[in-house]
Each structure stands twice: as C-alpha cells, then as structure tokens.
C-alpha cells in the first residue's frame, strides 16, 4: 500500500482526539490545522513521522511526539480498592470541588505541553477525589483528559478509518456499517488481487475503497448503481491515483446493466477520410466520444460474458427482486454477499434465495465487537456502545444440474 507508512504532505489523514472524536484533514505543507479546544498545530511539525504517531501541542503551534494519546505509562489510579471511596460516602457536595491548582498554574503547565502533569496535579490538589466512587473517578478523569490533554494522533486514512469517520458523523451515510461487518463482508466475498467483482455500494465508496485495499492494483470492480452517477465520494480522500481507478473501476446504472441490449451506445465510426477532414478540436471531440462509447460497450461486453468472481451488495434497493436478476453474471462457486442494516430485509432475501437453485446455503450473520476498558484492576466492558452495525447474508452461486434436481444433499 503506497503512502501508508509515513505521514506525508498532501494526504488526507485521520486525526484522533482524546475525546475519541475523529477528524479528516488534508495535510497542506504550509498550513495550520485547528483542533478546536485541543489547540492548533502547524502541519510541517507532523510530517515524516510514521502513521499512528501521537503528538502533544506546545506553544506557537509546535508539536512534540509523544508515545500515546493518553499517557497510560503512569497509572492514574492506584489498584488498591481503598483509593476509591465506597459510594461517595463522605463526598457531600460534588458540585464545588476544592481545587488547589490555580488557573494560572494550569495555563503555565499547558504552555509547556504538560497536560498529563496538569491532570495529575489536579487530582493531587482535589481534596475529595479519593472520596469519589470508581465511576465518578473514571468520568472525572476522562473529562479532564479531554480538557487538558492537547494531544492528537495521526492515522492513515484507510477504509476502516473512513468508515469509522462516517459512522460517527452520520451512520446512515454508510448504511450503519460497522468495521466488523466490513471485515466479514471482505472475508466472505473472498476479496483478493486479481478478482473481478460486481459491487453495489451505497456507502459513498467506502466499501469500494476497502475492496481496492485488498486487491493491490490487480483485478476489476464493476459498480452498479441507480442514479446517473454513482456516489463514490470517499475515494476522493483515498490515495488512489485517477489512473489506477480508471483502470480498475467501471460503472453501469441498472438500466444499462439489466437492459444491455437496448442500452448500447449506437456508435458508427467515421471513415478515416472524414476524420482526417475534421478540425483539430472536432477531431479530439470525436475521439473522446468514441473512447467513451467503446468503454460503455466494453463494460456491457463484460456483463454479457459474465463469470464475475463475486457480488457484493450494500444498497437500499430491495434485494429480493434484484439479486435473482443478476445471479447469472456470476461464475460458479463464487460468493454472493449482501449487507443490510436490517435483518428483516435479509430474511426476506433469504427466503427468495433459498428457493433459487443457483444459490447454495444462504446464511445470515451478525457480528458485534464489544470493547473493554483495559485499566488493570478495573477491567469491564465499556458501559455504552453504538447500536446497530448491520447484518451480512452470504451464499454461494452454484450451477444446478439440469433436469432432475432433488432437495437431497442441499443445505
């Protein structure tokens, strides 16, 4: 994967903040990037480091590399149960906490990029911190870290990161697809270099991006869509060159795909003499149109040839009526993978596919990742998680025996 090791100018990257928010920013060499309350840094300070590097913002928009987004080298809380009070017994007024660190002190430490020190001193200066319950302590520390840790991490903007960005911002933009569902789709669809896939992608191109990552510039993806143009905006922030995308990705709308016979561009080549007589602008116009027509015809040829290596479907178009109409374009023993945010829709699809002899063993999967707090001594699953994440239907395209097919031996 080119460009996924070193933080370079001109790339879009993912910035992670201590609040667990993420941003996508473009690294323009001479610019500064504002992270709101976490401060502003100049891009030049972060170039050349490896992706995954964390930084702390100092004065004058300078940064220093730090080992992690949150300084977990020094345990903030002792492990002994006595460090947290049993149910805030003696903590009468949680509103007015006695703070021994002055605002001036805090500002001074901030300038020195010592966010963690601030927090430690705040805790030390917080008379009733030890009297808080464990939950209050955790919550309090989190708030303080978000406030005083002027840190950020720069991550490579891969498909997973793009998905995370969109899902946090507006889950419907990516059909509420979780990273674990994405991983499951890619495995069941058997995505790998050299494959030729049909993709229906209403995640704005995030799914396409994820497939491209696993194909290493080899193979092809035909994107089928329902509008005049497919929405593949996510690729604009990827590091794929227009040439590579041109080579690997093509698209057709459903009208073209399903009614190829009537939708072929009717192209008549001019006789050479006529071409020779064209003015230069007319000629280049002619040639451009010719190339475009050829391109559509070529794509339609590949659809007619069929034998695609998989169908990957993540669309709000209702699958039960659509999928059976495109199954014939798939090769034998190739996967059909359908994603939906709703199990009910896959259940309807399941019943349709189960009756189709071109389909073997449809299965509906749900995968959910549950994250834990990993502070030793207080390990527990996170108290809240984002709901949803979607469902994945996987089946295999098979070639039924003509004539007498019985149900025996069919899953």
């Amino acid at each position: 994967m080119p460009g996924c090791n070193i933080i370079e100018e001109g790339k879009h990257v993912l910035v992670r903040l201590p609040s667990e928010a993420v941003k996508v920013v473009l690294l323009k060499g001479d610019s500064c990037i504002s992270l709101g309350k976490f401060g502003t840094f100049s891009v030049s300070g972060v170039l050349g480091y490896k992706f995954g590097q964390s930084f702390e913002i100092l004065e004058n928009k300078l940064v220093k590399p730090v080992c992690s987004l949150i300084d977990d080298s020094k345990p903030l809380l002792l492990e002994d149960s006595n460090t947290f009070s049993e149910n805030n017994q003696n903590l009468i007024n949680t509103g007015s906490l006695v703070q021994k660190l002055s605002t001036q002190d805090i500002e001074e430490l901030k300038k020195q990029g010592k966010g963690q020190d601030i927090i430690n001193q705040i805790i030390a200066g917080h008379d009733s911190f030890g009297k808080k319950t464990q939950y209050s302590q955790e919550k309090y520390l989190k708030r303080k870290q978000e406030k005083f840790l002027r840190r950020f991490t720069i991550d490579y903007l891969g498909a997973s990161e793009m998905l995370q960005y969109y899902r946090l911002k507006d889950p419907q933009r990516v059909l509420d697809m979780s990273n674990e569902s994405l991983g499951l789709i890619l495995s069941y669809a058997n995505i790998r270099p050299g494959g030729n896939y049909i993709l229906v992608d209403e995640t704005g191109g995030v799914l396409l991006y994820a497939m491209l990552e696993r194909m290493e510039n080899e193979g092809s993806i035909l994107v089928a869509h329902e509008n005049e143009h497919p929405n593949l905006i996510a690729l604009n922030y990827s590091n794929y060159s227009p040439e590579l995308l041109e080579k690997m990705v093509s698209n057709l709308n459903w009208l073209q795909f399903l009614e190829a016979d009537t939708q072929r561009p009717q192209w008549n080549n001019y006789p050479q003499e006529k071409i020779d007589r064209l003015t230069p602008p007319r000629r280049s116009h002619y040639l451009r149109k010719k190339r475009a027509a050829d391109r559509v015809n070529n794509i339609l040829d590949t659809v007619e040839q069929g034998n695609f290596d998989g169908l990957i479907y993540a669309s709000t178009l209702y699958p039960p009526t659509l999928i059976p109409r495109i199954l014939d374009t798939l090769g034998g023993s190739r996967p059909v993978v359908i994603y939906s945010p709703f199990k009910e829709i896959l259940s309807e699809t399941f019943h349709v596919l189960q009756k189709d002899y071109r389909i073997l063993a449809p299965s509906i999967y749900e995968t959910r990742v549950r994250q834990y707090q990993t502070i030793i001594g207080r390990i527990h699953p996170l108290m809240t998680t984002k709901g949803g994440g979607g469902y994945v239907l996987h089946a295999t395209r098979v070639i039924p025996k003509e004539g007498g097919v019985t149900a025996v031996g069919r899953g």
Partner: protein, 365 residues
C-alpha cells in the same frame, strides 16, 4: 401505597407520574392549586384531581397533552435523575426472579443508592415482606428516607450504615433475611457480616453487583471462604428495539426512473440543439457517453480547507424530478401509503453494553 396497589381515580396527595414524553416522565404529588409546567403547556393539578389514572389530559390552553400514570417501580426508574448508577429493569427483574424474591420475602439490600431497586423489591415482597436497605452516604440516605415515606412504603427498613465495617444488624429486629443484594464497591468486605442476619431455617440467596471483573474475583473468593455454594456469575444484556418501516425500493422502479431521466435528457438536448441552431454532425447518441464520462470517479473535489468535510454532493435538481417512484428529495412520512414499506427493527443508537457483573450464590445452613 400506590406502589403496592392499583387505584383508579386520582385524589389529592396522590403520587402521579406525568408522562410528557418517553424521555420526560415527571413524578409529582398532586396538590390542589399547584401546576405542572412542561414544554407542552401548563397543567393545573386541579385538572388531575378526580381524573382516572391513565387518562390523557389537555393543558390549560388546550393545545398540549400528557398522560397521568400510576407509579410503578419501572416507571420510577425511568423518571429518576441519575444521582448514582441505577440498577435498571433488565438487571433488577432478573435478580428478583433469580433470588426467588416473593411476597413475604425478607430482603437485605446494600447500598440503597437511588432507591430504584428498593421500589422493585418493595413491590414484590409486598405488605408482609420486609426490605432491609442500608446506605452509608448521608445525603443519599436522607433522600431515600424521604422518598420511601412519601411513597408510602412501610415495608422498607432503611438504615444509615457502612455495612462493610458495621454489619447489618438492626436494633430490636431479627433481620432473618432470605435474599441478599450487595451493590457495593467492595462486597467482599460485607459478606463476612452476613452470617448474623441471614435466615437459618431456609435457603438464603445472594447477588453481588460489581462493574469490574477484579471485584468479581474478590467476591468469589469471599463467598467461597464463607461457605456459600453454587457460585455463578452472569451478565444481563438488555436491548430495547425500535420498530420502523423501510421503503421497499424495487429495481424496476429504479430502471423506470433511469429511463425517464434519459428520455428527458434526450428531449433537453434536442431543445438545446434547436436553440443553438447548430447542425449536429455526430449521429452518435450523446447520453450514454456523457453519463460515462462524468462518472469518472478519479475526479477530486478541491479540498482547500484545514478540515475536510466529507459530505456527499447535494442534489442539484430540486424542482421537477420527473418520474420519482421513491420520493427522492421529498419529505416522506414513514409508512406513507403511496409507497411500499417493510417493517424493520433497530436497536437504540446508544446501547447500554454493560452495567455490572452479577455474582450469585446460595447457602443452606
């Protein structure tokens, strides 16, 4: 005693849960002359007195409505300001069933916390059971005490006490508990004090409620040391599902729409040609080609800002959309009978993925 018995008509001094919305349920004692102010209007208590529980009433000005509900422990839990970690209904309902808490049971609860579980215990043990609840945080103790009195729950004996150091004995009463619920940071310190207050003549069950796995380990060790049997640890994971409808978007309609777009584009080109008076020297049809060329996904949006906002391009044509089977660009009410729908469910956007680990055990001697 509205938590223990149903009542039909609301009287002065009754507790009413004003259901304003799913996320706004206000408990109140009905008092002649007072008013309830909500974002849906002002509701004089006088309108409530004499109304039936469950009734929907209009605001003084008649434009907003609320429902007047009977209190239940579950509704009370929903209405609570989150003073402390609350034991929610998924956990509490399981604990009650699993500890075999029934009318007449004698339950030990420490700490009282928000008192929400106390209400659920009180409802189930009912008038001839008894709940011994212990809270060592003085302000919380005071608050719970007031609440239990106001809610007419005489079957609760509330004690201000740190049970880890001072145990569970209550002056002048034989606690004789048969079910124990410990929601404490260090339940293992309390377990040793249980011997003196749990029933000797019948099986005693315990549940310790701890968020962290390390607390569970210490609890298991303490329970084992004090001869509790049948130790089991579980998590209860509860989900609330929202039912919705999703539009069934048939591909045939999508194809029909594309045909319509194409037809209109061709017509548009014809018009344009005529307007421009240009004789077309290419016979080839433009539409497909144009579509394909503009599809070039390598096109990069200029991104000059510090932060890039990865928004999809907004739809340009907001006026006449031609054939529009899915109501693109229109506001469509979920379930609008002009479209086809399928019933779907989805979980809440934010799920409570963990409350606490529940460690159960019992003892026979």
């Amino acid at each position: 005693m509205s938590f223990l018995y149903y009542k039909d008509v609301i009287e002065e001094e009754d507790l009413v849960m004003a259901f304003i919305s799913r996320n706004d349920i206000k408990p109140m004692i009905v008092k002649s002359g007072e008013t309830l102010n909500t974002r849906y209007g002002v509701f004089p208590h006088d309108l409530m007195i004499g109304a039936r529980y469950g009734e929907q009433i209009a605001s003084a000005k008649g434009y907003g409505f609320i429902h007047l509900l009977q209190p239940t422990p579950e509704l009370w839990t929903l209405s609570l300001p989150h003073r402390t970690q609350i034991v929610y209904t998924f956990d509490s309902s399981y604990v009650v069933q699993r500890l075999r808490v029934l009318p007449g049971s004698r339950v030990i609860e420490a700490g009282t916390g928000s008192g929400s579980f106390s209400h659920a215990f009180a409802r189930t043990i009912h008038s001839n059971g008894r709940l011994f609840s212990y809270e060592f945080h003085k302000p919380r103790y005071e608050e719970a005490k007031g609440e239990f009195e106001c809610h007419k729950l005489p079957n609760i004996t509330l004690t201000h006490r740190d049970v880890c150091t001072d145990g569970f004995k209550v002056d002048g009463v034989n606690v004789d508990g048969d079910a124990v619920f410990l929601d404490l940071p260090a339940p293992w310190e309390a377990i040793e004090h249980l011997d003196e207050v749990v029933a000797k003549d019948r099986r005693v069950s315990i549940c310790c409620f701890s968020p962290c796995i390390e607390q569970v380990v210490k609890t298991i060790e303490a329970l084992t040391a004090k001869n509790w049997n049948g130790i089991e640890m579980v998590e209860v994971s509860g989900r609330k599902w929202e039912a919705h409808r999703e539009m069934v978007r048939d591909v045939d309609e999508a194809v029909a729409r594309l045909k319509d777009i194409k037809k209109r584009a061709v017509a548009g080109l014809e018009r344009k040609r005529k307007l421009n008076q240009t004789s077309d020297e290419f016979e080839n049809e433009d539409i497909d080609i144009q579509t394909t060329e503009e599809n070039d996904i390598s096109h990069k949006e200029p991104a000059g800002k510090g932060e890039t906002d990865l928004k999809p391009k907004s739809d340009q044509n907001t006026k006449d959309r031609g054939y529009n089977p899915f109501g693109k660009g229109m506001r469509i009410r979920e379930g609008d009978p002009a479209y086809n729908w399928i019933n779907v469910t989805r979980s809440e956007p934010e799920v409570k993925s963990h409350t606490s680990y529940l460690t159960f055990a019992y003892r026979n001697q």
